[in-house]
Structures are given as structure tokens and as C-alpha cells.
Symmetry: C2
Subunit: 109 residues, 2 copies
């Protein structure tokens, strides 16, 4: 037990859940918000900005990278992270498609 039974769900359900899961941590929301505010970002900024250790920030950045929401390029000694706008839009669209589904308003409850 303890392991999520992904095999019993559809690819779409798993995909959507994975995206939501990555967004389901305040540090990762805060990182995205910081990048949005700064227009760009360097990891070390985040260590000062948020109150988390460098190793922890790096780990969160990796998860955001895994779903393609951010991308990073090496800029000399540091790495410049920014939003991947095409993936950003795709994710927004996916979420909206899910939430825009019609449902009967004759709520039984």
C-alpha cells in the first residue's frame, strides 16, 4: 500500500493530477509568483526571498522543470529560470477544459 494506483486511471486523469500535484506546494507557487514578478529569475535570489535552504529550492525547481512549466539556461556561473509560456498556456487550457465541463444544476444535495 501507500503507492498511488496510476494504472487504474486514464492517461488524461493521471496527467492532470500530476500537474495539480506539482502546483500543490506553497513553495512552488511562491517560486512561480517570484518569477512572474521579476520577469526572470536566478535560483539564488529565491534562497534569500523564500526562507528555504538552497537544496530545497533546487528540488522544487526540478519538479517545476519536470512538467515543463519553467525552463532554465546557464548564464555564466548561475542559471536563469523563466516561465515556459507555451506550456504555461497549455496547462491553463487543460485546467479550464476540466473546470468548464457542464454539469447539471439540479443539484440533488
Amino acid at each position: 500500500m501507500g503507492i498511488t494506483k496510476t494504472e487504474i486511471f486514464s492517461a488524461h486523469e493521471n496527467n492532470l493530477a500530476t500537474i495539480f500535484k506539482v502546483l500543490g506546494h506553497p513553495a512552488r507557487i511562491a517560486i512561480l509568483q517570484h518569477i512572474l514578478n521579476q520577469k526572470a529569475c536566478i535560483c539564488n535570489d529565491l534562497v534569500e526571498e523564500l526562507g528555504l535552504a538552497q537544496a530545497t529550492i533546487s528540488q522544487h525547481l526540478k519538479e517545476l522543470k519536470n512538467i515543463g512549466l519553467i525552463k532554465g539556461s546557464i548564464e555564466g556561473k548561475s542559471v536563469c529560470y523563466c516561465i515556459n509560456s507555451s506550456v504555461w498556456s497549455e496547462i491553463q487550457l487543460k485546467m479550464n477544459q476540466f473546470f468548464s465541463q457542464e454539469f447539471s444544476l439540479n443539484e440533488c444535495c
Copy 2:
């Protein structure tokens, strides 16, 4: 360690992350999808529909109830769960407000 440091993030960041976290499991996405398709729902249906034990389904329903996304009313022996449309819309709006934030397109990466 192992505990999320919610105290260092804003209420808005924590709130948004909590919503995403609840949505971040394929079983919960599947449950919502089932309710959407059926227009209404009874827990026991889900046990047959999804391949999870009754206790597990009940637990997932509880988490969806915690953020107000679904509500249930007792219908004789069973419980009728359905989407709470006002919370549903609020959540969709919150997600869109986050994803609609402007960001510079002069991506550095």
C-alpha cells in the same frame, strides 16, 4: 523536517497550493469526472467504477469535501454527492487569476 513550512508563505499561496494538492491525485480527478458525467453520484457507484476499496474512496471524498468542491446529503441508506457549483466556479476563477498574470515574453532562456 518532512513538514511543509506553511508559515513562511502567504495565505493566498497556501490556499492555492491546498486546492491544487487536493486535485493532485488521479482518483480524485476520476471521482469528479464521474460526478460530472453522472450529474449526481453515490459513493458505492465509485467503488465499482474505480478499482479502489470503499474505505479509500471515502477518504478521497472527504478531501474533496474539505475544500468544499463537493457536498453530500443523506438519501436514505446512501449518500448523494454532487459538485458544489459556487465553490467550483470560485476555484476555476482563482486558478485563472493565477495563470492569467502577465509575464514578459522576452524569455531569457
